[in-house]
């Protein structure tokens, strides 16, 4: 769980990688599903600084993220959360990209990027606040430079583009990155975001996680061609990477960030991955999904391939495995404890933060409702009445 502050790129970067675009860009892969590190003429450069230690740390983050996800799913099954959108299978796409960001970059994601949130340093309990139904959102976006989850499909891509317009105005070299799914590419907002990003050449990265499904709809319903190819039509270069390959994802994200920081404008990344779980805990994928497909993808698991690579390198020691297990256990415990101990919100919280300045309509409703609560002789309600503003 750290951010990538080293300035990547530089004059020696192979330029062709920076310009990858156009139809049917080849899928970039640096680690095979069997854990083999395959070399790549352009993208190796972008992960040349990744030490064995860092590889272990990526492995740890992915493992911890998976554990967080499974624990949250369990918490939902146990009635502690109202809903959870599992990210199972998408750990490399999330950790690989998030770990390349600087802390002053800003993330606008969908509901599924809880692994990204972990890498940004979001508090574990804050991660669950909204899914437990305790608050409309979990954290203050400015403390970690990541907006809270967006449920309206694609809406966040415009926010990222606008934020990047602001970065450009400020003359800063940070970047806005926005995460969205394959289904989202059909929404007008995502396409308009590309129009604006291209027109103003602002520093924004469009990170599309193609997990092959939008609830029950296969990606082919959204597009017969590769999603990465959408971008060229807007004048935006794109990269298509194996989204289950943490190094390939890092490399691609660094290419995009580097371009953005240098004033080269937006980049579109399609991270090809797979949603191993249900859409959310409310979904039943057996109604629409061929179990064989799931099996195929299980063989391309993003975490086991890094384990295999570490093993080849002799790094997958028992010590490392124990250390990661301990960390995951601790994180899961902290999260579970924090979740179950989370105090319920107060009734009059419903009126808080609708406006940042007094509003006569709402103030009256709050006054009436606290009188209503007080009419039950509820001493709590009476207290709340005073503390409400």
């Amino acid at each position: 769980m750290s951010t990538d502050e080293t300035g990547q790129g530089g004059a020696s970067a192979p330029t062709s990688a920076q310009g990858t675009s156009g139809p049917a860009a080849r899928l970039v892969q640096l680690i095979t599903p069997a854990g083999e590190r395959v070399s790549h003429p352009e993208f190796d450069f972008w992960v040349r600084d990744i030490t064995d230690e860092q590889l272990c740390s990526l492995y740890e983050d992915m493992s911890v993220v998976r554990r967080i996800d499974l624990e949250a799913t369990a918490l939902q099954r146990q009635g502690e959360l109202g809903l959870w959108p599992p990210l199972l299978g998408q750990e490399a796409a999330q950790v690989g990209s998030a770990r390349t960001l600087r802390s002053d970059d800003f993330v606008f994601s969908s509901y599924r990027e809880n692994g990204v949130a972990y890498c940004r340093g979001v508090d574990l309990v804050d991660l669950l606040r909204m899914w437990r139904g305790n608050a409309p959102s979990g954290w203050d976006p400015y403390t970690v430079n990541m907006a809270t989850p967006q449920i309206i499909i694609g809406a966040q891509t415009l926010h990222a583009t606008g934020y990047a317009m602001g970065i450009q105005n400020d003359g800063a070299d940070s970047v806005a990155i926005t995460y969205f799914g394959d289904g989202a590419t059909s929404e007008g907002d995502v396409n308009e975001a590309m129009v604006f990003a291209a027109s103003f050449q602002v520093p924004v990265v469009f990170f599309c996680t193609n997990n092959h499904w939008a609830i029950s709809e296969p990606v082919r319903l959204q597009s017969h061609i590769q999603l990465a190819d959408r971008a060229a039509g807007f004048g935006i270069p794109s990269l298509r990477v194996d989204g289950n390959d943490v190094l390939a994802v890092m490399a691609a994200t660094r290419v995009a960030l580097d371009r953005a920081r240098r004033g080269g404008g937006p980049t579109f990344i399609e991270a090809v991955s797979y949603r191993m779980g249900p859409h959310t805990t409310a979904d039943d994928p057996t109604r629409y999904r061929d179990p064989n497909e799931l099996e195929d993808w299980a063989a391309k698991d993003p975490i086991s391939r890094v384990a295999a690579l570490l093993d080849r390198k002799g790094l997958l020691t028992e010590g490392l495995q124990q250390q990661i297990k301990d960390k995951a256990d601790a994180v899961a415990r902290e999260m579970r404890d924090g979740c179950t101990r989370m105090p319920d919100p107060e009734p009059l919280d419903v009126f808080k933060h609708v406006y940042s300045t007094p509003n006569s309509w709402l103030d009256r409703q709050q006054d009436h409702y606290s009188r209503y609560l007080a009419s039950f002789g509820d001493p709590d309600a009476a207290t709340l009445e005073e503390g409400a503003r």
């Binding site: 109202g82 809903l83 509901y111 909204m130 899914w131 437990r132 139904g133 305790n134 608050a135 409309p136 449920i151 309206i152 499909i153 289904g183 989202a184 059909s186 929404e187 007008g188 907002d189 939008a214 609830i215 029950s216 709809e217 319903l221 959204q222 409310a282 979904d283 109604r287 629409y288 319920d344 919100p345 009734p347 919280d349 419903v350 009126f351 609708v354 309509w361 709402l362 409703q365 709050q366 009436h368 409702y369 009188r371 209503y372 007080a374 009419s375």
Partner: protein, 336 residues
């Protein structure tokens, strides 16, 4: 008579419409293979094919916009918006096209489009999944807006909506999807109560209580509770939200002299304001108290742990009834 859930009743009504008119087509996200996230369209694609029950790409403006094109071609599209909070990307197509094209073409082009929207709260969902946007549409000329409150109406009104030559927004109270009741499947859209008419559910003499959709059940419960205290409530299920069947409401208020309107949507500018204003206009000299609104607050829909505070429940409705009757209530002693 068949016992069925609310959701199943809509499914049965959709099936009837698909059977009776080859021009009926269903469009929406996840309505085909999955049968909809609430299973309302369960089995329909299997039985009617992919061209009648269409899983669409994820774009609400396009779903409604292509429905407009299908209507131009003589089809009767039935659109599903997955949740209330996802109707806004389609707002332009609904308000500027669906609602206005019959007028804009001087009657040449009909827009017999039904837009189904599961709406309202009470199911513990995260944001954007529990909204009550009906007032945006009741204020939009050219649309008809209905909501139903029981499986029988769900079954017949969906068919009436589909066969209506005007566009209809059909609001489904999602927290009632699992409620069960007997449905008479022989009741055709032609013989059932027309969809633009309200229904008086309980006769009462003290106060008229107007509700629709999810709160009809709550209103009936309130009437039962009030009866114990000797208060006689006339509950009206509005059914049609645009136009409102004021004839029925006026007749009731002229007898009771008092009106309470309830809905989940926020108070300011909600349908309750329209009902209160119109009833005041038409019954001013019969009213013994100002019409009372018992509604959601003017807030974005709150987190699920707090939704019961936002949603009008039985007690809040009874408190409103007390206000209308001038009995002691939570605001007693407060000046306007």
């Amino acid at each position: 008579m068949t016992q069925m859930t609310f959701a199943r009743a809509i499914n049965a009504g959709l099936r009837k419409s698909l059977e009776n008119d080859p021009k009926v087509v269903l469009l929406g996200e996840d309505i085909g293979t999955l049968g909809g996230v609430f299973r309302v369209t369960d089995g329909l694609q299997k039985d009617f094919g992919k061209h009648r029950v269409v899983d669409t790409p994820l774009a609400e403006s396009a779903i409604v916009g292509t429905a407009v094109g299908l209507a131009y071609r003589g089809y009767r599209p039935v659109v599903e918006i997955q949740f209330d909070g996802f109707v806004y990307p389609a707002f332009d197509q609904i308000v500027s096209q669906v609602a206005k094209l019959h007028y804009r073409t001087r009657g040449a082009v009909k827009m017999p489009i039904t837009i189904r929207i599961p709406f309202g709260g009470g199911i513990g969902s995260p944001e954007h999944h529990s909204e009550s946007p009906e007032a945006y549409f009741t204020h939009t000329a050219g649309l008809r807006v209905v909501s139903v409150a029981n499986p029988q109406d769900a079954y017949t009104v969906i068919q009436q909506a589909i066969s209506c030559d005007d566009p209809v927004l059909f609001f489904e109270p999602k927290r009632r999807y699992h409620d069960k009741a007997d449905v008479d499947e022989s009741a055709g859209p032609g013989t059932a109560l027309p969809m633009d008419q309200a229904r008086v559910l309980t006769q009462g003499s003290d106060v008229t209580l107007v509700a629709y959709g999810p709160l009809v059940k709550t209103a009936l419960d309130a009437a039962t509770a009030a009866a114990d205290e000797g208060i006689s409530i006339e509950v009206i299920d509005l059914r049609s939200l645009a136009p409102v069947d004021y004839e029925t409401v006026v007749a009731s208020v002229k007898r009771t002299g008092r009106l309470v309107v309830t809905h989940e949507a926020g108070e300011s500018g909600g349908l309750g304001a329209e009902v209160a204003a119109s009833i005041t206009e038409r019954c001013f000299y019969h009213l013994e108290a100002a019409p009372v609104r018992v509604t959601g607050f003017d807030i974005p829909y709150p987190s699920s742990k707090l939704e019961m505070h936002h949603l009008p429940g039985l007690d809040r409705i009874l408190d409103g009834v007390d206000r209308a009757l001038g009995r002691p209530n939570s605001l007693s002693g407060l000046e306007g």
